[in-house]
């Protein structure tokens, strides 16, 4: 801006910072963990060199490049150009698992659809939080399938098309049959620790399920 070509003036007009000063400033700003202020820079520069002028020259040198010199709290810092950040963004996909409660609810819906929330609670033997239902809805795994014609007309739930896709099933008939899962006769001899309780537990569900 003010770089007059007149060489007569001694030191009033700021002289263009030399390459050595620019290199040093560049390295310092680059290597510093935080912003570098003009004062910190001037400690490194020869006495007659104006730190602000060096910073200005450095900023100009980097203008429009992939890395820019930006002013932040307390000084300057190199930052990648904002327009490049979408391309630099690296998305790391960490797939998550469904929480146990959600998985159980999904399984009950898959096997008993269409099924109401009270029925799900009945089968699981515990209440079902709205949060769990919402999570399954959000994941597109379940969908409402009308309402049951009973007092209160509760919503009926069933699996959504996404359910088949997620589990790699062609259709719902590809799910293992409930009979194959539940109706195995209990084997007390094999499981010595399994008491009557276990036996009656595993046989009862199918009857309970059909009652409703």
């Amino acid at each position: 801006m003010t770089d007059e070509p007149s060489a007569a003036e001694p030191s009033a007009a700021p002289i263009a910072p030399d390459e050595a000063a620019l290199r040093l400033a560049e390295a310092l700003v680059f290597a510093s963990a935080g912003p570098v202020g003009a004062r910190a820079l001037s400690q490194l520069l020869p006495e007659n060199v104006d730190a602000d002028a060096v910073i200005a020259a450095l900023r100009e040198r980097y203008a429009g490049r992939g890395v820019e010199l930006v002013e932040v709290g307390g000084g300057v810092q190199f930052r990648t150009a904002p327009d490049l950040s979408p391309r630099l963004r690296k998305v790391i996909e960490i797939p998550r698992r469904l929480p146990r409660v959600a998985m159980e609810t999904l399984a009950i819906i898959a096997y008993h659809q269409p099924v109401t929330r009270p029925e799900i609670e009945e089968i699981r033997g515990t209440s079902l939080s709205q949060q769990t239902l919402d999570a399954l809805l959000e994941a597109n795994l379940i969908a409402p399938k009308g309402r049951k014609e009973s007092p209160g007309r509760p919503t009926l739930w069933g699996t959504a098309p996404q359910f088949l896709a997620q589990f790699g099933l062609k259709d719902l008939r590809e799910l293992p049959r409930r009979e194959d899962l539940l109706l195995e006769p209990p084997q007390p001899a094999v499981q010595p620790q399994a008491s009557e309780e276990t036996a009656s537990e595993s046989s009862s569900p199918s009857s309970l399920v059909t009652d409703h």
Binding site: A31, Q77, F78, T80, S85, V91, L98, L182
Partner: protein, 256 residues
């Protein structure tokens, strides 16, 4: 480095603690003898080492065991090296001398390697990487991992646990209490002009027949309660017939 071959063992003694063990001293002595370690005389090296140890003993300098072990071994080596050529013992000594020379060369190579590494501009010492790297990574946890096996496992678990819970905790029936019935009867009576069956005062949402019977009983009790205080009148026209209820208009007329 500038040390000459004529160095006095005594001058070394003063700095013995500066050496990292006998091999270090041997290497130093060897390098003082010849720049090319391949050309050193093991015999004179042994003599030099033993002279240093002897000097240390003379001034009662305490030496660590490994210095003395090396001295003993070198003494043995020297005795064998002095034997005339050809004998088995002399050959043995030659092999041992070669091994010692090779070890010295190994150590020398490592020394030089360490020096070479030291001349490299080191990151964080001489050259610096970016002080404030940027992290452009983003974590996407939207994808679900699901497999059929865990679905089936979850189903079995849920159903079994559900059954277990039911066994121990019979389902709580939400029965229509007398208090509920009193409230409902009192609020509805105003809108009922004439004799009305008690059935009409039952709540709309009743589960099964059990709940219905319970509600009917509660409502009858509520009716009796209100009749006793003279607010309603009750009537049953035949045995097991419907029980009728009406607001008491003026005073008490007939009993139930």
């Amino acid at each position: 480095m500038s040390a000459s071959d004529t160095r006095e063992p005594d001058s070394l003694l003063l700095h013995l603690e500066g050496f990292e063990g006998p091999l270090d001293l041997l290497l130093d002595l060897a390098r003082a003898q010849k720049v090319d370690l391949a050309k050193i005389s093991i015999l004179s090296l042994v003599d030099q080492y033993l002279a240093v140890i002897e000097g240390a003993r003379r001034i009662r300098l305490e030496l660590a065991a490994d210095w003395l072990v090396m001295a003993a071994w070198l003494t043995w080596l020297k005795s064998r090296l002095l034997l005339p050529d050809g004998g088995e013992a002399a050959e043995e000594a030659e092999v041992a001398a070669d091994i010692l020379a090779a070890r010295l060369r190994d150590l020398q190579a490592i020394r030089a390697g360490a020096v070479w590494l030291g001349t490299r501009p080191q990151l964080g010492q001489d050259v610096f990487a970016r002080g404030a790297p940027e992290d452009h990574t983003e974590i996407d946890r939207s994808r679900l991992v699901l497999d059929l096996a865990s679905l089936v496992r979850a189903y079995l678990l849920a159903v079994r646990r559900g059954a277990g819970t039911r066994r121990y905790q019979p389902r709580q029936l939400s029965l229509w209490s007398v208090k509920d019935a009193l409230q409902r009867l009192a609020s509805l009576l105003g809108s009922v002009p004439d004799w009305t069956s008690l059935d009409h005062f039952l709540p709309d949402t009743l589960g099964g027949p059990l709940e219905r019977r319970a509600a009917l009983a509660s409502t009858l009790l509520a009716g009796l309660e209100l009749a006793r205080s003279g607010e309603v009148r009750l009537r049953q026209e035949r045995d097991f017939g419907p029980i009728l209820v009406r607001r008491a208009a003026d005073g008490v007329e007939e009993g139930a």
